[in-house]
Symmetry: C2
Subunit: 903 residues, 2 copies
């Protein structure tokens, strides 16, 4: 490795060869900034929305097989796709050479409205189609794929859409499935709903499974070539000045390592990894990040750069899956998707339940690269509310770790309870014991194997999670795993808990825990209402969310609910109805089956988290049933023909194929600067100063814009509406948390964000009144916004009369509306290009270009006609891009490159 290596990959069949890469750059950043494939969208940047999903294809030269799966390009680091092929929606088809039937059906089913999420949906669906073709299923009729309707529905489960309500998108997916009921599909432009005759596949743009090459031949040939070294990659970023040789020896080749710069290594043995660790002296000097899928960056944002990125996914010990009669050992670098597949390949209730639960962790495109070990390390090191840690804890798992000097085996419980691992501690593998077989060799109990419920000891295992969304990618309010051996007392016919493993996590705890005292209390006891009540009381005392956790009572009650749900079928003294209560009934509707349980759950207020939705589940998706089956009857009047015809939206295919240009897709001018807001974190405070992290500021920050930079003749105005004007920046006094204090301008968006995130604001609240934080406080202190009279509530009808006539009366009621989050997929974006004669051309994703024009002109102190605001399309807005888009636009005006700078 004397020579710097190249990073080689393909995008949509084109070859890319890079010799110098900043290891912190993501696949998304590369695609959007260095290629024309801007269909890859940046939505949440956390792997949570799916707007950035691409298909990653890997070739295995030994088996001559191609493996294909979706990934979040916003999390995937570019260096980790060495030797891979990427397919984006542009790779499926385009307006010149013809759209892909996926694109065409998204258009025809009206499944693309704002269009920002569409490319990601297309790729999730495409991946499902590609993988369905690889199954041994019989060939479908021409025009159909091997995909099943049920798979089609799940294919897009991680992708978010805020416009369509998903039905049209699911219709697109279903339309490819050979088991689809064509008449069940919704309104579309391919046929008129209600037409009886001849609704068949011919109505659709034709699908053929071999239309897209996802792995180009040249790359296969290069990978087969012995000259290519496709592991042990070493990459560095390019803004270096000096090279010094340090003589580190890897596989009898020496590596050049640059000091004080960022590097990427892909070692292929643990020894190499250990050498790298040794070379990196202290964590302060050389912050090391171990990488598999980098999906953890979606949770713990990379606020500053690491110095060294080490991709451990090429070390065989970390990727192997070993099975024996005592259990399964999964390498720490094995992805969650592969872990699921491995567990499904095993017999046994525990493995199956774990696999089912894992399928609800994050989204498929995250699970495809996220490693099992990474999940557990985050749970160990950070207070990451891992589902996997909790359920593996319940299953009595253990781990192997490499501490640098030795390999240690620890129970998962021991591992989680250790002080947080440093970056050099290596989690090697996770072992899940085979409980069913374990008992086979045990003589402690007379229980039968394989959960024989009759007259024996049965193994029970269940996992639980309650989260704001039912299908993946939402962190649990609380999760749980319970493993129990239950026998039946032949005399009393009581169920006896022979042994129990109770694990809870995510409820506001440092890490998942075993409820040891409850376990011990219950061991050997019959499951009676009294025992259960006692256990519940004990459990409530254990499951105490730490200070500051949202909805603490709800979380505690969930633990109790899950625990009750688990033992419910065995409790003596419950009615049959009570026995068949769903956990959702218990927790969500607060029906209290009996007095005992009633005491254990504190009433309605605890039953819901304070904000947002709650979906409780403790089984796989199948239990939710065919959630997306519904009848859609659309009455189309022909009176004003063609008004009412299901005509496809102009440009919908372009949105699907990634060709539609959103503001951030407009090629920015050379030397364009980028900015990010620094917002107040205090509701009412004087801002005494803003400081930047020195290491970043010296190199990367161009300037900070704040209220004092408003040009002469301009006003500090950020928005203007019927509610009055708002300042663009806080003056010396921040009025509310979230108020913009300044705008950091840097050479790249990444640096602007980084500098803004790491800025330290010096606040001072001395002699200030306490801030008004609630409506009640505002009323108390008579602090009101002036509401224009035409918006004042109007009296309609006679309230008392209506109430008197009503069947049900409201005796007393209080309604509180929480805050609103617009949640548009395309974030606020604006690009300003100064033009001659003091003019400004502003491209913005705003719902109110006219207001933007007025405010910009006022802020800059120039005539309205000097400002041109261009909005071509908006990637979702829902009101959030009306007034709230203005400050972003206005500040963008300051991003005009100052020239007195070092190059």
């Amino acid at each position: 490795m004397e020579e710097d290596q190249k990073l080689l990959f393909a995008v949509n069949g084109e070859r890319y060869e890079l010799y110098s890469v900043d290891p912190s750059i993501t696949l998304l950043e590369f695609l959007r900034s260095e290629t024309q494939y801007k269909g890859v969208k940046l939505g949440c940047g956390e792997g949570g929305c799916g707007a950035c999903v691409v298909l990653l294809s890997k070739y295995d030269p030994i088996n001559d097989q191609i493996e294909e799966f979706t990934v979040s390009s916003c999390l995937t680091l570019l260096c980790s796709i060495h030797g891979c092929s990427i397919t984006t929606t542009e790779g499926l088809g385009n307006s010149k050479d013809g759209f892909h039937p996926i694109h065409q059906r998204f258009s025809g089913f009206h499944a693309s409205q704002c269009g920002f999420c569409t490319p990601g949906f297309c790729m999730s669906l495409f991946s499902a189609l590609v993988n369905a073709e690889k199954t041994q299923r019989p060939n479908p009729p021409a025009g159909f794929s091997k995909l099943k309707v049920s798979e089609g529905e799940k294919a897009i489960s991680g992708n978010l859409c805020r416009c369509t309500g998903y039905r049209p998108i699911v219709d697109v997916c279903k339309s490819f499935a050979s088991d689809v009921d064509m008449e069940d599909l919704g309104l579309n432009s391919f046929w008129r709903k209600g037409e009886k005759a001849d609704i068949n596949i011919d109505k659709f743009p034709f699908y053929s499974p071999n239309g897209v090459c996802t792995f180009p031949d040249f790359l296969i040939n290069e990978l087969k070539s012995p000259k290519q070294c496709f592991s042990n990659l070493y990459m560095k970023n390019s803004d270096n000045v000096r090279i010094s040789k340090l003589g580190l020896t890897f596989n009898s080749n020496s590596v050049s390592i640059r000091s004080r710069e960022r590097h990427w290594y892909s070692p292929i043995t643990i020894e190499e990894l250990q050498k790298l660790f040794k070379y990196k002296k202290t964590e302060e000097e050389n912050r090391i990040k171990l990488i598999v899928g980098n999906t953890g960056a979606g949770i713990y944002k990379e606020l500053d750069h690491y110095d060294t990125y080490i991709d451990i996914s090429h070390i065989p010990e970390l990727s192997v899956i070993r099975r024996d009669s005592s259990g399964i050992e999964i390498g720490a670098a094995v992805t969650i998707s592969k872990s699921i597949k491995a567990l499904r390949g095993e017999k046994g209730l525990v493995f199956t339940k774990i696999a089912d639960h894992m399928s609800q962790v994050a989204s498929e495109f995250v699970r495809n690269t996220a490693s099992l070990g990474g999940n557990l390390i985050m749970a160990q090191r950070n207070p990451f509310p891992s589902d996997i840690a909790t359920i593996l804890l319940a299953a009595g798992s253990s781990v192997n770790i490499h501490t640098g000097s030795e390999i240690v085996m620890l129970t998962l419980e021991q591992f989680l309870e250790r002080p947080p691992c440093n970056s050099k501690t290596l989690l090697l593998s996770i072992r899940i014991p085979s409980w069913d077989r374990l008992r086979n060799f045990s003589s402690e109990f007379n229980g039968s194997i394989d959960n024989n419920p009759i007259n024996g000891t049965i193994l029970l295992f269940e996992t639980y999670r309650a989260a704001p969304r039912p299908l993946g990618n939402a962190v649990s309010y609380l999760n749980a795993g319970i493993l129990a051996w239950v026998s039946t007392n032949r005399k009393s016919e009581d169920s006896v808990l022979e042994s129990l493993q109770l694990a809870f996590g995510a409820y506001g705890t440092e890490h998942a825990i075993r409820a040891r005292s409850v376990e011990e209390f219950l061991a050997g006891k019959p499951i009676t209402v009294a025992v259960l009540l006692e256990a519940i009381t004990m459990l409530r005392a254990i499951i105490i969310p730490k200070e500051g956790t949202l909805s603490p009572a709800y979380r505690s009650s969930l633990a109790v609910g899950f625990f009750f749900d688990f033992l419910r079928p065995f409790v003596k003294g419950l009615t049959d109805t009570e026995k068949h209560l769903q956990i959702s009934d218990v927790v969500a509707s607060a029906k209290t089956p009996n007095g005992g349980l009633n005491r254990s759950i504190n009433g309605v207020a605890d039953m819901f988290p304070e904000n947002g939705n709650c979906y409780v589940q403790h089984d796989n998706l199948a239990r939710l049933g065919p959630i997306l089956s519904a009848k859609q009857v659309v009455e189309v009047s022909t009176e004003y023909y063609p008004v009412g015809e299901p005509i496809k939206k102009a440009g919908a295919e372009l949105q699907a194929s990634g060709e539609a240009v959103f503001v951030d897709d407009i090629p920015s001018p050379k030397d364009c600067l980028h900015g990010a807001f620094i917002c107040s974190t205090r509701p009412l405070a004087r801002v005494k100063g803003i400081e930047f992290k020195t290491s970043l500021a010296s190199q990367r920050i161009v300037t900070l814009i704040s209220a004092k930079d408003i040009p002469r003749g301009g006003e500090n105005i950020g928005s203007q509406s019927i509610f009055g004007t708002e300042p663009l920046f806080a003056d010396d006094l921040a009025q509310f948390a979230g108020q913009p204090l300044g705008f950091v301008i840097a050479e790249t968006q990444r640096y602007a964000n980084m500098v803004a995130n790491l800025a330290t604001v010096d606040y001072d609240t001395e002699n200030l009144e306490p801030p008004i934080l609630t409506v009640e406080e505002a009323v108390e202190r008579s602090s009101f916004f002036e509401v224009p009279s035409f918006l004042s509530p109007k009296h309609v009808g006679d309230l008392s009369e209506g109430m008197a006539e009503a069947d049900h009366k409201i005796l007393s009621a209080e309604i509180k509306l929480g805050s609103q989050y617009y949640f548009y997929m395309e974030t606020q974006t604006a690009m300003a290009i100064p033009d001659e004669d003091n003019c400004m051309v502003v491209y913005s994703s705003t719902q109110c270009p006219a207001s933007a024009q007025r405010v910009i002109a006022k802020c800059l102190g120039i005539p309205d006609h000097n400002v041109r605001v261009i909005t071509r399309r908006v990637g979702g807005g829902f009101g959030g891009k009306a007034l709230r888009s203005l400050p972003k636009i206005v500040t963008t005006l300051f991003c005009i490159k100052p020239c007195s700078k070092a190059y």
Copy 2:
């Protein structure tokens, strides 16, 4: 110099610090690509048009003085402005902070039409104002400068304008002069022409001499700081991979030299320079360019990069001017402007005449940085038609050269006759003897000193040039210098040529020569008609332009004419009228004073160069008189008021201040590619292949576009008009010289140009008819373009009747029209930005946007409405940007970045 040095300078008061610079980059390229100062325009790229003129200010910390002068930024290399301050027209004022009175008066005098040349004019005028203020002249009345009208006229003599005819521009310049006759100024928007009362300075935007800081304090302070090392600069370009230390020692510091890359050195001693020469082994491996002002690049284009640039202007031996009684010795790196100043400081006819002549070499902004030595080296090494070499040859100059091993003194004649110098031969200085004083110590003749014409020996010295333009920056058809001692025979009263030095150059010769045989023939002879005739005959035999020189007969006749002009006053036997003939009468009007001379000049045909104008001069500009004095009477009707009012053009100030955006000023998108045509050099030939210079092609060329790349559905169409269509590219057969064969696409315009210029085209003319090159041949071979009938000449009136009535009759006449060169200042430019849905947005400097749209759509095979052509302003066109702009625009469409490339 262990550390890489920084290049430090200021632009319009802003500080620039660069650590890595490609030494071949020009100041213009830097300003236009790395700053917002796009008022600096690229016109000819040869220092010939002045559109790129900026003010360069140098600070002398020893004398605490600032020296200011104009330079061609298109020739000045960026590395050579270390420690300097640059002022562009944006530095004078702008629309936000207020325009400079120069900008305002350019607008008010209607002196900016297309506006492309205006910034350069502004800077030439500004430099004249700045330097006038430095004189000891009495303070002018408020609002005026110390500039004189005569200086104002000359200030802009190197700048070209193709729209105004110069009168309004000269009016602007004059308007600042305190000796201006306000009523003599032309039509303007400040007052109504013809208004009698009160035309005074108050009518103008007020001028104050201290409005602009041309050298910021911070730079003065840094230059005074001992830490700063402002000579001995070492710069390298940035695309390097490895550094290896070579231990070269300079001033007891070692320098890092990178192999196989480009470097800039500014040695401060000859020893350092010699060390550099020694290190660079062979010219093939390391092509060295010695730099002073780099103005030679305007003549000999830098087609490929040099490896090493050595700025020799900081070596004191090369910059010193030594005077003693025997003459003046000027360092080779002294600029022509400083040489002129030095010569004017000397007494003596020869020095004065040389200074006068030098003032007509190139333009002031070229002379300000062009070195005397550089001019002579080009004359020695290349067949550069130097005026300076010729006149210095006539003056009997000598040179000192450093051959690497020794310092040698040669006569200039010996120097010119040597084989061409290699790049390591160093011209140290030029010595011009003091002829007047020389004779003072001579006893050969009894002549008096100081040209006493009565009864003694007088010294005569005259220099001549004939060129296409009267004022600078046009290479001579022929130049000459003649030095003679003439005595008068007291008996016969004949003038006797005691001795003579006759030098001629630029007429199509390898270098300037002495007409030795004529000199010898005439030495000691009385100047009679017979002697003169004999001498002329001899001279004609000597002044033979080499094969391929244009207008050879004209050039030969010029030599004779100049020679005759010199001796005319002394020839016995000429009439008084003949004696007072101007040389222009002799040469330009072909009046033949007598039979003898008649024979020496071969008739009218020889009298003019075959193409273009001819201005003959042999004295300084004063002899041309007040060329720009004229009356301008503009009758303005008030009938349709305000039509006819002298309202200033909208945006004229913006044009002057550099804020007006021309196509090339539009910020290009990130990763924008650039293209350059490869045109046929053969009139009719098959194109068998195009090859690129490997060293360039491997790295820098992106692709070559030719006829086969026309997209499916499109046509090979480059323009369409009433005369029919023309192909965009030659197919296999090039139809005419200049026809585009292909379009090279590269990452920068410089590389595109370089690759295109160095491309080798393989032509084949076997079995092809000879090409038609003249109208006569076309008629003979019946090859006609079809002319639309409405353009056919129409018979108007009765020709024979008219002729019969005419006072003067045409008995026989032939008119030939030469080819036309539109000569717009802004070159053909287009920028294409692909837009969604197969659309194209094209910015172009075209006179026919509608035709462009149609042709683009046809070429690409897309609907017209998919093409948007935007033309905001055109920097001159004159018809040349009608049809002829189309191919440039159309090819630009292919500059869309392909992605399969190495980064």
